[in-house]
Symmetry: C2
Subunit: 343 residues, 2 copies
Amino acid sequence: MLTDRQLLVLKVIVDDFIDTAQPVGSRNIAKKEQISFSPATIRNEMADLEDLGYLEKTHSSSGRIPSEKGYRYYVDNIMSPLQLSRGEVHRIRQSFSERMIELERVMQNSAHILSELTRYTTLVLGPQVYETKLKQLQIVPINQQSAIAILITDTGHVEHRSFAIPAELEHADLEKTVNILNEKLSGVPIVYLSQFIETEVKHLLQKYTNDFQKSYQLLNQALFTEQPTNLYVSGKTNILMQPEFADIDKVRSLFQIMESEDQIAPILKSEDEGLHIYIGRENKIEEMNNCTLITTTYSLGENQVGTIALLGPTRMDYAKAVSILDIWSGQMTKQLQKWFNEQ
Amino acid sequence: MLTDRQLLVLKVIVDDFIDTAQPVGSRNIAKKEQISFSPATIRNEMADLEDLGYLEKTHSSSGRIPSEKGYRYYVDNIMSPLQLSRGEVHRIRQSFSERMIELERVMQNSAHILSELTRYTTLVLGPQVYETKLKQLQIVPINQQSAIAILITDTGHVEHRSFAIPAELEHADLEKTVNILNEKLSGVPIVYLSQFIETEVKHLLQKYTNDFQKSYQLLNQALFTEQPTNLYVSGKTNILMQPEFADIDKVRSLFQIMESEDQIAPILKSEDEGLHIYIGRENKIEEMNNCTLITTTYSLGENQVGTIALLGPTRMDYAKAVSILDIWSGQMTKQLQKWFNEQ
DNA sequence: GTTAGCACTCAGTTGTTTCGAGTGCTAATT
DNA sequence: AATTAGCACTCGAAACAACTGAGTGCTAAC
């Protein structure tokens, strides 16, 4: 267990390093008002903290920087949640003020605002697709050859896709197909759609339409295209502002990671809900080993869970980042509950 | 006027520098097969080319690099269009294979493919909004409180917006309003919409709906929101691969420019159609002064013109970039014509 | 237990030297 | 008259030494 003075020294070092990105020396610590003892004393304490693994030196006669363990301790035991400014809280609230029908807009907007407030990179992962259900399907003809399908899921995902109407499909068949689809498919989980169509819809189409082949083709074009993107990244450029990314190679590899949803999505999906902090090598992606990732979840309905995360250097303003995520996820969950009940 | 030999030397230097990003010395030039004279001769030619302003030295005893004037001469008089590989042409063609209903998808897809093929950054600017006309409007109710409006313009822009249905609006009124809107608004240029509504639609609504206020509110919510994004950027990360952007500060300022549509859009809108090359300081943005921007236009209907551009270092593979843009814009214009006539 | 004092360490900066790729000029060659 | 070999010269880059200063650890005094 650390003494009070060790705690204080550790806190001052972490705070200072978060601020300046420079190793902290005993002399500078002694200058702070909170500190009432001499550099020599601090040096002794620092030596002890280093032995315990909370601090590191960049070289034998440098000041100290926090180790990953040091950050961990700071985050778990020292850090006090920051009181956000009224303006900051307002901005977060604001992003929920529009009527929420499309979850996408809210997520995109949130990503933008959070990355502006924190100056870190924001990653938002939408709710898991395998749980979402089709709520409504509309097919709007545009002209003789084409139509637009509008899909709305119970998670507020709205999507339009345009597609060609199979040539020579009779108008009556088109109408019937749409009716059948609309009636039968609402409430069906997206992942079971194709299976469900085989077992429940196919025979109806065969029975009620004149040209089954064409109707079936229509249906497939309307419903099955690529999966919608589920990951929103905002503020990538903020990474460039951090001195730890002065090296272009690091930026390059990190940017490449962030461009592929496949690599990012798994690490955002944490096992359990709530706030998680992954400091340095605690996350599994090598290119991110000098970063910290703070994730938190928001929930929509029963099991539907999405994730929002902030990515910054390990030397991150933890207090602020955590406070902002907390407020956001609280607001988000509240809003979603309200919205979910309304439906 | 340059002699044939000067032309050859200039070409070899530009080609070599495009390839290696290193100043080119007389010795290395002499080694090339195309060259049948000694380093000393080349040195004399290089000195002349430098006097004429086509070449530069990085320091007094370095090899030569092309000046902006040198690139300009190369582009205007020396460069021969590159024969693209079958695979490359195929990839470009492919991006037009889907049925085109939504211009957005095509643009996004094109941006992606071109930045992959060239390894530069691609910027696509959609057709000017002030010329586009509303082609069709559909309002699809989702539940008691909300509906989705689908707007389709004659340029193939498809957009959906969700909005709240004003409380207590009668269903009959909703239907009537939609009908009136659909009937009256198609073909109206977007920018005149609000004016047109005042003069042509307002009195109809007053006449045929019970609660004019509510209907009018509905209409405004459905039609007037932010302007859709018109600029698609792809392959920003490619910039990081260029050795001229090893300096993080340059990357930073360039990325910041590219994030704001306001700054990029004006330089993409060139006065006249066809291909344009802006080498170095020929473009007006200071942060882009060591870049080359190659733009070309595509047209849709009569006056509707969009722009696509490739952004890379001044040391760009001009021949390839130009060929690729040429092919793309040809395909695009052809497809759009076909599509436009069909409608 | 705390702190002043001091020797020691090491990154970073500055100055010096060396190396080599490249030039420009002159004189010899074709 | 055009080309080329030869050579002195230039200058960036790399390698190395000297110097500086912020910082440490240890010891002895307070």
